[in-house]
């Protein structure tokens, strides 16, 4: 064995930003909660959905951890495998979803808080349903 092979090599994917070392709270997260409460009220009153783009806001990793902790964990956690993993997790406040898109390398590509009854991405598209229906018909005709 060459000396080089004795060097242990570990490939470690960087933690998502929200779990990395906190660098300090900025105080920018609490106002978001007010915006969320407005959005939830709109959802109840008019059915209008909202998405807040977290990467567009001046939030530190610590702010995101703070937000995650405040919003808590709900009953539903959806995992989507589509060109990298996406998680669409209900928070302790039903109607508020924490949506994180990863790429195939595991890095976060975008992160949203979605206020909706069901996140848009979870719904099946009618054309896909039609394709599934055709497949089902075909399968049954072969039985």
């Amino acid at each position: 064995m060459s000396p080089l092979e004795t060097i242990p090599i570990h490939v470690i994917n960087p933690l998502p930003a929200s779990l990395a070392d906190p660098v300090g709270l900025t105080g920018n997260a609490p106002p978001l909660l007010h915006e969320l409460s407005e959005s939830v009220r709109r959802l109840l009153d008019t059915g209008e959905t909202t998405a807040i783009d977290l990467s567009a806001l001046p939030l530190t990793p610590a702010d995101l951890v703070w937000l995650l902790e405040k919003l808590g964990t709900g009953e539903i956690a959806v995992t989507l495998q589509a060109n990298g993993e996406s998680t669409l997790n209900e928070t302790a406040c039903p109607g508020i979803w924490w949506v994180t898109h990863h790429n195939e390398q595991g890095a976060v590509t975008s992160q949203f808080i979605e206020v909706a009854l069901v996140p848009e991405l979870v719904k099946a598209h009618p054309l896909d349903v039609k394709r599934g229906y055709e497949y089902l018909e075909l399968m049954m005709s072969d039985l």
Partner: protein, 359 residues
């Protein structure tokens, strides 16, 4: 290959949700509401692919590298599935006369409809002789290709503003695309290199809305270049609190404080690095601990030292004294400052002035 995009994608095993997810990310990058992401997905799924001709001029191929290497293969495939890339010297298999013929055919068949992408500046010195392809000068090729183009996308700082070839003393007489072409819509996508998603975003906008996105006074899409790096920087709160890293290895640097005093050009640089990031969202210069160079601004190369703060401190002599105490401070900056100081002292026996320190 000319059917709706979504059919091509499905054939390649790209699901609708993958595409939706991609569009959601793209829309978020373009600061569009989620409803627009959905509309974008619907429109792009049904879009016919426009013909694209990509001409490289006085450039380093960094822009092409940026586009082709920064995302996972599936996304990269998507970028090229959205368009019919009919001519790109670095990527195309054809060479010589065949390649030139492909360009001529694409230009003829899609007269008035194709998108023209230019990377690199155009040298005007010695009748354009500094950069020729197939025996023809860049300016000649540009003027020919621009005639039938629906729009021109100037990729990278060289095509947008002249870039490094134009840097003082500009030996080849390099100019930008918009210096030469006045009668076509031109989108500048500056950056050295530019962020690939910005180009995809411009194409997505073109496919979705049939028009080019709204541009700022420097010809850049507002969606990506609407705000400064500084305004969208995750270190911005530290700037507001007056917490600055003073050297690249002090406690402030370790705490991730603002890099303003280390020469960060974020406050005067309009680009999307702070939100879109680089290398598939892994990181970006400021996140890795180095200030912004301002590469998406005109003449960034001649804008002074990368390590000189934007506004000079009130008492520069005290600043340098403090810096030399901590030693290896901002290595380059100090050595430059010291050299200037020494040189000035040697030649004129004069007191070091602010102007010396800025050299």
């Amino acid at each position: 290959m000319q059917g709706p995009l979504i059919e091509t994608l499905v054939q390649q095993g790209v699901s609708r949700r993958t595409f939706l997810k991609y569009c959601a990310t793209l829309a978020s990058m373009m600061a569009l509401p989620p409803a627009a992401g959905l509309a974008m997905a619907e429109a792009m799924a049904a879009a016919k692919r426009p013909s694209v001709i990509w001409l490289p001029f006085q450039e380093c191929t960094g822009c092409t590298e940026s586009i082709t290497r920064s995302h996972s293969p599936t996304i990269e495939g998507m970028i090229f599935d959205m368009i019919s890339l009919d001519y790109q010297e670095t990527l195309m298999a054809a060479a010589g006369f065949q390649a030139e013929e492909a360009r001529h055919n694409a230009m003829k068949e899609n007269m008035g409809k194709y998108l023209l992408i230019i990377d690199g500046s155009i040298p005007l010195g010695v009748d354009g002789g500094y950069s020729c392809i197939g025996g023809r000068s860049n300016i000649d090729l540009l003027q020919e290709a621009a005639q039938g183009a629906a729009a021109i996308i100037a990729m990278g700082s060289c095509a947008s503003y002249g870039g490094i070839p134009k840097a003082n003393p500009n030996p080849t007489g390099a100019v930008s695309v918009s210096d030469l072409i006045k009668d076509k819509p031109i989108v500048n996508i500056p950056g050295c290199p530019p962020i690939p998603s910005v180009m995809t975003g411009v194409l997505a906008h073109y496919l979705t809305f049939g028009s080019l996105p709204e541009l700022d006074d420097k010809g850049r899409p507002k969606a990506f270049y609407g705000e400064t790096i500084h305004d969208r920087c995750y270190r911005r709160p530290f700037y507001d609190q007056g917490k600055f890293a003073k050297t690249f290895d002090d406690e402030g640097a370790r705490q991730g404080w603002c890099l303003f005093e280390l020469g960060c050009k974020g406050p005067v640089t309009y680009n999307a690095c702070a939100t879109v990031k680089w290398n598939g969202g892994t990181s970006w210069p400021v996140e890795s601990g180095h200030g912004c160079l301002g590469c998406s601004e005109p003449d960034f190369w001649d804008a002074g030292s990368f390590y000189k703060p934007l506004s000079t401190p009130a008492d520069p002599l005290k600043f340098v004294a403090a810096a030399s105490v901590v030693g290896a401070v901002a290595g380059v900056a100090v050595s430059v400052a010291n050299r200037a100081k020494k040189g000035a002292a040697k030649s004129a026996h004069e007191t070091t002035t602010l102007a010396d320190l800025e050299k």
